[in-house]
Amino acid sequence: MFSLPALLYLSALLFSVGTYGVLARRNILVVLMSLELMLNAVNIALVSFGRVHALTAFAGEHGGQIFTLMVLAVAAAEAAIGLSLLLVIWRRWNTIDLRQLCRLNG
């Protein structure tokens, strides 16, 4: 049960849940969280792969983990930018509704 496929399925599941959150929610905050969710889901896959390949991996023993660490950094920076954009929008237009951002079209 605690095997690679299970971990991968879990990862895929969490990824899909994240996708659902992004697709279905209107609240920008929740959408941003769902995006974090997606990245985290991938992290599980990365770490599990890293674990099973640990001894033979070309990328080194900790390749997957290091990759994950980078993803953490990326996620943090992304969250910073995302949240500041959110702030900009909130300050000027007082909304956190994704659908209100629709003036540019065509």
Binding site: T19, F58, G64, L85
Partner: protein, 489 residues
């Protein structure tokens, strides 16, 4: 265990390093001044930028002692001609964008220090992306440049359009990053824990389903970056909302670096016929949709956005050819086309910047009578549009010639035909600004703000380059061919 950095590694990182340092210098040079003089052109920033970019460009010509061979930083990057060409496109674009940014931003009352710094940082990461050879560095570089571009797109934080565009870009970008990352994870898993492209190419996991899906997901991530259908939705909105200079910058640099990287990635991983077929489908839809949707646009920036999408479609053709295994050398048209596209697009966005200085005019009819008021700008824009349309004597023509010629040579007649039909459609909308500029009388109330020297210089140089590449493309074609041969070894 100790840390060793070889000379070749230093040489390889030199352009990117110089660019990052340039960004830092720009930031420091502006410390404490940003508050009061938002309307100043801040020539010193442009000067620093120009110096930095020129230095970086010069660094491209510094040959590492161990030539381009070998993997540097444990396979994280390489230093071959292909990467250098990519870096070259990025650096030149950065140079001109920096030149244009000062006056444009000043006219909008925006501080340009962060903007120019973001260009420099972005250029650094793009240069690295062009040279990156492992999944982690690719991912981080692509995220770095994306973040820089998100911020630049929403740089006018008081304008709804800019913020909206930037946010759309951000959400969709992060969404696509998820898929990109998932794809990388799959590849990592399927190839026995490889992140370096050479390891991936060497591993025997290439036949695995997971690997195929992973490659596809990575492709999707890149497809988003270059604006291929159906991952193109952000392009028009972001282009319309973002500051013109930022649009020019991302239209060229983001697309160029992503394509260079994608090209390298696909050449290494192979991907096989299945992927080629999918890519061909994407290419066809992209060419058609891009050109068709551009037909009735009133906003120039939006039109250029769809035109950019369409050009992505053309640019995917060489990848299809390369992927299908027939002729990896077909990818040689990508570096060439990117150079041509860069010159052309920068000239076009220079003119757009010129007309929107001090206001946010970007409608086609805002160009009315430009040929009478500013013949040089009008000429530059015309050359750019003709080049985009692929009319002979321009760089765009040679680019199309290369791509279509390869497509025909390798039997992709359908792609070539769609390409031709698409460019036929494109002729119509590329001519609309020409009609406005040359055939219509200027509106009486419309007075052009005098274009700054940076913008004029950009338009002139890029327009001239467009023609020059169109007339004497030999050296560039040669270089492109050699660069692709270099990655293939």
């Amino acid at each position: 265990m100790e840390l060793t950095i070889s000379g070749a590694e230093i040489v390889a990182i030199l352009p990117a390093g110089i660019l990052v340092v340039t960004g830092l210098v720009q930031l420091f040079a502006d410390l404490g001044r940003s508050a009061e003089d938002k309307h100043s052109e801040k020539t010193h920033l442009a000067m620093i930028g120009v110096t930095g970019f020129l230095l970086a460009f010069a660094a491209l010509f510094v040959q590492g002692s161990e030539a381009s061979a070998g993997e540097l930083y444990a396979g994280a990057m390489t230093d071959d001609l292909f990467g250098r060409m990519g870096a070259g496109v990025v650096i030149m674009t950065g140079l001109f964008s920096t030149l244009m940014a000062g006056s444009y931003l000043a006219s909008r009352g925006s501080n340009s220090a962060e903007f120019t710094a973001l260009i420099s940082f972005g250029a650094g990461s793009m240069a690295l992306l062009c040279q990156a050879t492992n999944l982690i560095s690719i991912f981080v570089a692509i995220e770095t440049l994306s973040l820089a571009v998100y911020v630049m797109a929403g740089y006018f934080k008081d304008e709804r359009a800019a913020s909206e565009g930037a946010f759309k870009y951000f959400v969709l970008g992060a969404f696509s990053s998820g898929f990109l990352l998932l794809g990388m994870a799959f590849i990592y898993g399927a190839t026995g824990g490889s992140v370096s492209l050479t390891d991936i190419a060497a591993s025997d996991g290439q036949q695995d389903t997971l690997f195929s899906v992973g490659t596809l997901l990575v492709l999707i991530g890149f497809a988003f970056k270059v604006g291929a259908v159906p991952f193109h939705s952000w392009v028009p909105d972001v282009y319309q909302g973002a500051p013109v200079v930022a649009v020019g910058w991302m239209a060229v640099a983001v697309k160029a670096s992503s394509l260079f990287c994608l090209c390298r990635f696909l050449l290494f991983t192979g991907g096989g016929n299945d992927l080629a077929q999918l890519l061909a489908a994407i290419s066809v839809v992209t060419m058609l949709l891009g050109n068709l949707a551009a037909l009735n646009q009133q906003s120039l920036k939006r039109m250029m956005a769809y035109s950019g999408i369409a050009h992505t479609g053309y640019l995917l053709i060489p990848l299809v050819i390369a992927l299908s295994g027939d002729g990896p050398s077909a990818a040689a048209s990508i570096p060439f086309y990117m150079f041509a596209y860069a010159a052309t697009t920068l000239a076009a966005f220079g003119v757009l910047a010129a007309i929107s200085v001090g206001s946010d005019r970007d409608q086609i009819h805002d160009l009315d009578g430009l040929a009478k008021n500013r013949p040089l700008l009008a000429l530059g824009f015309t050359v750019a549009l003709l080049s985009l349309a692929g009319i002979p004597l321009t760089a765009g023509f040679i680019g199309k010639l290369l791509i279509l010629s390869d497509a025909i040579q390798h039997g992709f007649l359908l792609l070539a035909l769609v390409g031709i039909i698409a460019s036929l459609i494109s002729v119509y909308f590329y001519l609309r600004p020409v009609v406005s500029m040359w055939f219509r009388e200027p509106k009486s109330s419309f007075e052009l703000v005098s274009a700054s020297w940076g913008i004029t210089f950009t338009v002139a140089v890029c327009g001239f380059a467009t023609i020059c590449i169109g007339l004497f493309p030999d050296w560039l074609i040669d270089l492109s061919k050699r660069s692709v041969e270099a990655i293939l070894g």
